[in-house]
Each structure stands twice: as C-alpha cells, then as structure tokens.
Amino acid sequence: MTLTLDNLHRLIDALLAKKVRVVGPKRTGAITVYAPLAKGTELDLDQLPRRSAKEVFFPPCETILSFEKRDGKTTVSDPDLDLLPETVLIGVRPCDAAAPGILDAVFSWDYDDPFYLERRKRTTIIGIACTASDDACFCTAVGLAPDARQGSDLFLVPLQGGGFAVESLDAKGSALKERHAALFSAGSNAQPLPLAVPAVDPLDLAKVKAWLDENFEHPLWQEIADRCAGCGACAFLCPACHCFDIVDEGGEGSGCRRKHWDACGFGKFTMHASAHNPRDVQAQRYRNRIMHKFKYYADKFGQTLCTGCGRCIRWCPVGIDIKAVLDEINGK
C-alpha cells in the first residue's frame, strides 16, 4: 500500500475537515516543533522536531483541578476529559514514536493517570522511517532502528521517487486507513530510500545495567557532574523523561492546581521543607538521571527509559554526551 506526498497532505486536510486535531512537525519561525497543523502542506518532514512528541500526551503544563472558596465553602472541579480532541499524530520518527509505549507503564502503575491515558486512547500515531540522521542519534544502540515500527499505528517508509509505503500495524491504524481508503494506492515496485542508520558503537544494555547495579558510588559521577550545569534542557527535550511538579496557582480564593514538567537535574528537586536535600550535589543528581533511565525503569518496568533520539546531546549547554557516558560504562 502506498501514499503519495500530495495524498499525505490531503489525508491531513481530510482529517481536519472531520474536526480531527492533526499534530505534526511544523516549522514555526526558526525551529520545527510538533504543533497542530492547519493544513497538510504545513507538515515539515525534513527536521527532527526540537521537542519530542511526549507533549501530545504529557503537556509541559496542564490544569488538573480548579477550586473556588466562597462563603467559607470550597468547591473543586476537574477538567472534562471528554473535551480532549481525537488526534492524529503524524510524521513521528521511531525515536519519538516508541516513547509513549515506554511511558505507559509509569502512568498506569497502580493508578491510571487519566490525563495521559485518555490522550493516548484518543491518539493515532503515524510514524515515519528516518532517511536522515546526525552523529547525536543513537537509536540503534538502545534497541530501536531508523525504521522501527514500535509505537506506531500506521508506519510510512519514504520511497525512491517520492511517496511512502504504508503499513498498518494495529486496529487503530487500519481504522484510520479504512476511513480514508481513497487516498491510498496499491503497492508499487518503488524501492525504499536508504535508511539513515546512526554510525555508533553498539551498547550492551544488560551490561550497562549490571555496572549500574554495582556502582552507585563511583568517581565517574563526579567527573561528569563537574560539567553539568543543572538545567532541565535534557529532561524537557527527552521523549522519555516524565518527572513533574504539582503546583497551586491562584491564592486563598479561586485558583487552579497544575502539573508541569520538572527535572531531577534541578538543584531543589528533592529538597525537603526542612532544607535537607538528599541530592545536594550535582553528581548525585546526574547519577540519578542515568540510573533512572538505564536501571530503575528496567528494575520496575523492564524497559529502558531512552530511545536514542540524541536531543539531550545536541542541546546540553555544556556538551555532556550521554552516548559517550554509556560507551564508557559499557567498556568497563
């Protein structure tokens, strides 16, 4: 089954006409981010969006409650999740598409987070294989690939001469394809464009985890942390980081409770009201980042909390290269 580029744009327009929200990589000013599209031709498949697709399910900020105090009585209301729109997330590379499936585990760990899970339920993901990468990419080292189908409901493979081969991977994908069947054509003999396979050394994740299991204390953490500036760029751009803060905004009368992105790299992340801070020093905080991604999440949920997208490498203000760190651990 194939889809021409024009028909991909028409698919987006058709979805929009049906009041489906379509989110995809869109160029806004100097950068490309995942954003709601107003028409098909706004789709920018040439750039990896600056932020990951996690914000479609886990927005940078969202209201979880509102409250009002009047005449001594407090009333609390919560957002109507039925108002969340049906969404198609389109043009998602495997490093972004695989992440929500990894995050499902923590957002449904004993308690189902409805804000995240409702969005997941209402979203169909159309992934696309990568034909361009740079030397920050390392998806292949963490069990993914430029054409990994993991996490996608429909998957597009760019073809020589233009257009895409289309695969339907599950019921959601098939349903979407059926509803717009006229836009899809029969298979063609066109060959796929060469995939962009990151030229990186492989990683033995089990070996890395085994080292992490034994080396909570190790000079490596201080060496890296000597450089770490303690910002949240890596965590916020990461498709898999999910830490958040819950804050009340307003005052003693009416206001809202919101949850918004937070990062374990921030100095005050674990500070108690008494001013005691279990992770008082950057080395402890950076260690927690690596441990969480490559050990704790595996201990708890059997998965690695990293898809090798490389954003943290590209955007770290002080040039910390997580792949280099992992290579060093892998070599021990």
Binding site: R50, A225, R227, G230, A263, K268, I313, V318, D321, A324
Partner: protein, 314 residues
C-alpha cells in the same frame, strides 16, 4: 577588512589562528601543572561528535595536553569559577581559558567579590569568533554559523591576563545583525514590541538553561525558586514566562558580560541576548557604564551617585 564569503568552502577565518591558540594553551597548561603553579586548568577539550567541544577541568598533564581552542569553544568558562559550580575552586589555584566575552564575566565576578584575581591564572585567547546557536560544528565556520555576538565584538584581544594565547588573524567585516534587530524592535510601537516578546516567550519551557549557564546567576536560592513569596509562577505559561525573563534581564542589567550563552543554549531559540544587549545600551546611555575586561567595583545598579540620571522616573 571586507571579505566576500559566498563560498562556504573557504573558511571565514583562517583556521591557523585557532591552531596557534591551541598550541599556546597546551604549552601553558602543561607548564603550570608541572610547576605546581595551579591544581587545575579549566579549558575546552574535544567531544565525541565531529567538531564538538566541551568544558574540561584538567588536573593532569595528559588532560592539559588535550585542551584546545576552536570555533566550537562557545562555553563561557567563567561559569565554572562561580558559586554555582562550587566543586571547582576547592581543587586549589586554577587556571582558566577565556575569550574576551568570558573575561568580562570573570572580571565581573571579581568585581562582585565572588573571586579574587590572585586566585586565578588567566589564559586569554585572541579570539576571532566562535559558532553561534544551531550551528553545525562539523562544518567550517561560515558567516551564517558565526555567533551574532561576534559580529559586534570589541574584545577580540584580552587585556589584563597572564598570557595571551594566539594572535588575531584578519577579521571579517560583517553587518551587526543584533544591532539591526534591536533597532527594528526599538522602532516598533510598545504594543508591537509586547506582541513580539510574548510570542517569543510563549515557547519557553522553563528549562532554565539560560539561568544555569549564566556566570552571574549564582544566587544560592534564585528569587524565582522561592515560594515564600512566590514571585513568579513556575508553570510554563505566558505570564510566568514573561515575568521570568523580565526579572532575569533586570537582575543582569549592569552585570551581563554579553557572552550570549543564554541565547545559544535556549532550546527554543528565544533571542535572549537582545534583551541583555538592550539593557546594556540603556546603562551606557544613562550612566556611561559598560562591562569591562577589568574588574569594576562600582557598577550603576550597585552604587549611587547624587547626580545619577533620574529622567526615566516619570
């Protein structure tokens, strides 16, 4: 000297000058460590990715021999001598590699009593320019890749340092894009300007990379991290974002060294240096103040004179 750089294969700036600076830094760093004059040299070393560079605290001769200077040496290493990176100074006496813009930050820290001049051995680099934000570090430095701040730089040659590494090559003469952008904003109505900035700040995700990379944001508890009172909402919403950036610009006015690192590290491409440069312009016009490569103890917002211009109080 005017150069026409249409051909991106010809480097904008003679790469030999970077190589010469590298050689001088390595020689000096090794000499200092071997002689025991310093316990560590804060400089730059190569990263894993082609052309990439990262800050390094070199404590061994081997590490000192890996230090380098290239157009990718964007970081302001003065950050590593501030209170925010308090693990570095306890090594003992340190040497530091600084470009002119970084040296202004170092001088500022000394002026604010965060550091003493005799605690550091300063290796100043004769710097013709470095890459800006979003540049491809694996390619040769081009006019497009050059940091905007470098086009307006007046501190290519460091002063008051212990050693100048390298010499300046012929420098390209390029239009000052930042000044043009500031003029464009100054020509706007207040409403247009407000619309411009609120649109920029709407992209802010409060990663605080701008704060963490700034050598002058060394407060042990940032005003915006306090919750009694909650000066600025922490959630990444337009009002809080705008307040955050306004507060930071005001707290840096009269201190900012113009290294533009805040702008480089912003993952959302917010042109933060325009704010800082505008503040710097205001302070120059009102009080004749500029950031300098020499420490200044009296700065406009930390001192008072009877004849201070007060015309802006209406």
């Amino acid at each position: 000297m005017t150069s026409n750089h249409q051909n991106t294969e010809t480097p904008l700036i003679d790469p030999a000058c970077y190589a010469a600076a590298t050689a001088a830094i390595r020689t000096e760093a090794v000499r200092l460590l071997v002689a025991g004059e310093v316990a560590a040299v804060v400089g730059y070393r190569a990263g894993r990715r082609t052309g990439s560079v990262m800050p390094d605290v070199a404590t061994t001769v081997e590490a000192a021999g890996q230090l380098l200077f290239s157009p990718a040496c964007q970081n302001n290493l003065a950050l590593f001598l501030s209170k925010a990176k308090r693990e570095v100074l306890p090594h003992g006496r340190v040497a530091i590699v600084v470009k002119g813009c970084d040296l202004r930050a170092l001088a500022g820290l000394i002026g604010e009593s965060q550091l003493r001049r005799d605690e550091v051995h300063v290796i100043g680099v004769a710097c013709p320019g470095v890459f800006g934000a979003n540049a491809d570090l694996s390619k040769p430095l081009s006019a497009e890749g050059l940091a905007r701040k470098c086009r307006a730089c007046k501190v290519h040659l460091p002063e008051g340092v212990d050693l100048v590494a390298g010499t300046l090559p012929p420098l390209p003469d390029l239009p000052d894009l930042e000044a043009e952008e500031i003029a464009r904003l100054e020509a706007m109505t207040p409403q247009e300007r407000w619309a411009f900035w609120t649109e920029q700040f709407s992209r802010c995700i409060r990663c605080l990379a701008c704060r963490q990379i700034c050598p002058f944001c060394f407060c042990t508890q940032c005003l915006c991290d306090r919750n009694r009172p909650q000066a600025v909402d922490t959630s990444p919403r337009p009002a809080g974002n705008t307040a955050w950036h306004m507060v930071r610009a005001m707290h840096l006015a009269g201190r900012c060294s113009g290294c533009a690192e805040c702008e480089r590290v912003c993952p959302m491409d917010i042109p933060l240096n325009l704010l800082n440069r505008k503040m710097a312009q205001e302070l120059y016009e009102l009080y004749g103040f500029e950031a300098s490569m020499q420490p200044q103890e009296q700065t406009p917002l930390t001192s008072y004179r009877d004849n201070d211009d007060q015309s802006f109080i209406k």
